[in-house]
Subunit: 193 residues, 2 copies
């Protein structure tokens, strides 16, 4: 029998920034200040926060997750779409920014107009290759995930992402967690199609 | 084959008030001002809003839904629990207030301390008796409901409520709608156990 039980952690809205954009937002030579390691190896929450602005409104205190990435990307919640005025903002895997929305970022040292990079994060499970083998899943495979108790649900179209640099962990966002009444550190069951 | 397709409308946080509490909040003899009829016969949204306060914070502009009810009841979202400081606030069917949480209500003419009535609404489907027969469900029966497309999910423990006074309609809340990327007026599929 393949393994099915996976830890589920909830992501809040957050942003990843490129080196160039970090310098533009916080000043040349600024280094990110790590405050908390995340479960994925090498990933961490930072002290630095920015404001993200859309056509209709803005969100303050959007936390930067480090380290810097090749391209700046902001992952919002579906419940933020109305406030920002970005109806139609697509649900995308991290790093897949074709068709993502433009947005503005306001930092203490400057403001940036990005032509793309705003997405709603697609729910996903990170697997190291050994875990993927135990679960019987392949990179990019779509599975379902059952979570919750009294307010349980089966989320469909959960993408499996397999890499040597990952640790076994499912990421849902705050909207999804609230809908099923769970917090970070819950467990879910992977259901193959 | 039983019928399975049902319209889904999303509920935001809201409050139902008793006649006595309406008078205490808005002044003696105050009548609710209807602004929009809801799909359930005789139910309507009102112009009147109140502030709801918990131990840690408050929510402004909580809309009253009319008509007046026997007992005052405020239905919040799971995503409001942190702001109000009401961790452990139970998920309940409307009207089932045993074990519900205390809260305060602030209106233009007065403030009320309620010893109970604060709940997270349990997702449910309203059926008139004829629709219930076509769907093959009974009052209080728990079913599942599949909703959404790209972000589809199957919500479990959806309670069927059958009454002559109801119209066929499923109520999810904003957290649930955001988690699956749907708005009001979507359709879902009822799945019997």
């Amino acid at each position: 029998m393949p393994e099915t039980r996976v830890i589920v952690n909830l992501s809040n809205r957050h942003i990843h920034v490129s080196k160039e954009d970090l310098a533009a937002l916080f000043g040349p030579g600024h280094k990110l200040t790590r405050t908390k390691d995340l479960m994925q190896p090498g990933q961490y929450a930072c002290e630095e926060v920015v404001t993200v602005r859309g056509p209709k409104g803005s969100l303050d205190n959007i936390r930067i997750l480090g380290p810097e990435r090749k391209e700046t990307q902001c992952e919002i919640l579906a419940s933020d779409v109305f406030k920002l005025g970005v109806s139609g903002c697509p649900t995308r895997e991290s790093g897949q920014l074709d068709g993502s929305f433009p947005f503005e970022i306001i930092g203490p040292a400057g403001t940036l107009k990005k032509t793309r990079g705003l997405i709603i994060a697609k729910r996903h499970v990170h697997f190291d290759p050994e875990s993927a083998q135990r679960f019987g899943v392949a990179d990019k495979e779509l599975v379902s995930l059952r979570v919750g108790e009294e307010r349980a649900a089966v989320f469909e179209n959960v993408v499996c992402r397999v890499s040597e640099s990952y640790a076994l962990e499912c990421h849902l966002d705050f909207d999804e967690g609230n809908a099923v009444g769970i917090g970070s550190g819950s467990h879910g069951t992977v259901i193959k199609k």
